[in-house]
């Protein structure tokens, strides 16, 4: 007789997770994270003083993990609406690959780890800004604004706009007008970017009960507001050159990119009511990604060229 009897458990409640490391990585919203990393890196390079390269890597890594953690918390809270939207139904939680509780713990642990790492190894101002960003995205945007008001992505956009300020603060230990302008560019870019998406995905948002602008104020009003934001965004994009932070090269690129943004927004504004394919809205959505990448790449290139010239002239 065996000393210990074995009992096989078939109960679903005891089912072991089949989530792979890739599923957990998907919880971090890698595409959003790549944008955060890039804009934070530009803020870090644009700062007038230098930082040890290893600490710069630590800062970028912590910012990336913090952004990913807020993405995981967002997916944990929004699992119910993600399940009914075509764009998000295959995410790890609605598809059943990761349990909601696992995603919550994952997000909380990474949030604490990223903020503490940034604070201990870099500085506490950047850590405080990262903590605020995670809180703002996970709690203020995801839990409150997103299901309550069509201004959700206008106000919530602040969370996605802070990374260059964190990058700047990681190097300098303060926040300056130059970094605030980088914040403003992303902040003003967010509404037309997401409303272009909301125009051609309005049925998805309707089904999920999310009060996006086209579902609440109508398509015509949304198109007018997209154009209004484009009118404000285009000159703000040129502001770093106007204020003397960059060279005329950046100014020229930002002017061209801003003109393009206005053109694509105009095409959305005059889009026929019966155009259900909404090609102008899809084109604007694609162009807006190119715009943001282009503006920040031009800013980065300008900073690098300035440094190289300064070294050459020294």
């Amino acid at each position: 007789m065996a000393l210990v009897e074995e009992t096989r458990i078939e109960d679903a409640a005891f089912r072991m997770s089949e989530a792979t490391a890739g599923d957990y990585f998907a919880l971090l919203k890698p595409r959003v994270m790549s944008l955060v990393v890039f804009t934070a890196f530009v803020g870090l390079v644009a700062a007038p003083v230098s930082i040890n390269p290893m600490l710069a890597v630590v800062a970028i890594l912590a910012i990336a993990i913090g952004a990913g953690a807020s993405g995981a918390l967002n997916m944990w809270y929004d699992a119910d609406i993600d399940a009914v939207m075509t764009r998000t139904a295959t995410r790890p939680i609605p598809s059943g690959r990761v349990a909601p509780g696992e995603a919550l713990v994952f997000g909380l642990v990474l949030s604490a780890l990223s903020v503490m790492t940034l604070g201990v190894l870099v500085n506490w101002l950047s850590a405080a800004l990262l903590a605020f960003t995670i809180f703002f995205y996970a709690v203020v945007y995801t839990m409150w604004l997103k299901r309550w008001t069509p201004q959700n992505i206008v106000i919530g956009g602040a969370a996605g706009a802070i990374p260059p300020v964190i990058g700047w603060a990681a190097v300098t230990g303060n926040v300056s007008l130059e970094s605030v302008i980088l914040f403003l560019i992303i902040f003003l870019w967010t509404p037309p970017h997401f409303w272009a998406l909301a125009l051609f995905k309005s049925q998805d948002y309707e089904r999920a009960g999310i009060p996006m602008m086209p579902n609440v104020a109508g398509e015509a009003s949304t198109r007018r507001q997209i154009f209004a934001y484009a009118v404000i965004l285009a000159p703000v994009g040129v502001l770093p050159w106007v204020l003397g932070y960059t060279s005329v090269g950046y100014g020229a690129v930002a002017t061209l990119l801003g003109a393009g943004f206005l053109w694509y927004s105009w095409k959305v504004l005059v889009m026929p009511q019966d155009d259900r394919a909404m090609r102008p809205a899809k084109a604007l959505f694609g162009y807006s990604l190119l715009y943001l990448f282009g503006i920040f790449a031009a800013y980065l290139a300008d900073c690098v060229v300035e440094r190289v010239l300064a070294i050459g002239g020294a």
């Binding site: 000393l3 210990v4 009897e5 074995e6 009992t7 096989r8 458990i9 005891f14 072991m16 997770s17 089949e18 989530a19 792979t20 490391a21 890739g22 957990y24 040890n52 290893m54 600490l55 630590v58 890594l61 790492t117 190894l121």
Partner: protein, 54 residues
């Protein structure tokens, strides 16, 4: 006697594969964390010490 029973969960092949994938990722992440903290600590110590003392 109920206390003598050892309750076991039989893992399927996909569960074993997923667990292995998670274990490797956790191991690599913890290893990277250790390296980052060691190197960053050396850098910070080097910066805070007077010239020539390290």
């Amino acid at each position: 006697m109920a206390d003598d029973k050892l309750e076991m969960i039989e893992l399927t092949e996909s569960q074993k594969k997923a667990r292995r994938s998670r274990s490797i990722a956790i191991g690599l992440a913890l290893g990277a964390l250790v390296v980052i903290f060691y190197v960053a600590t050396f850098i910070k110590f080097a910066h805070s010490m007077p010239n020539g003392s390290m």
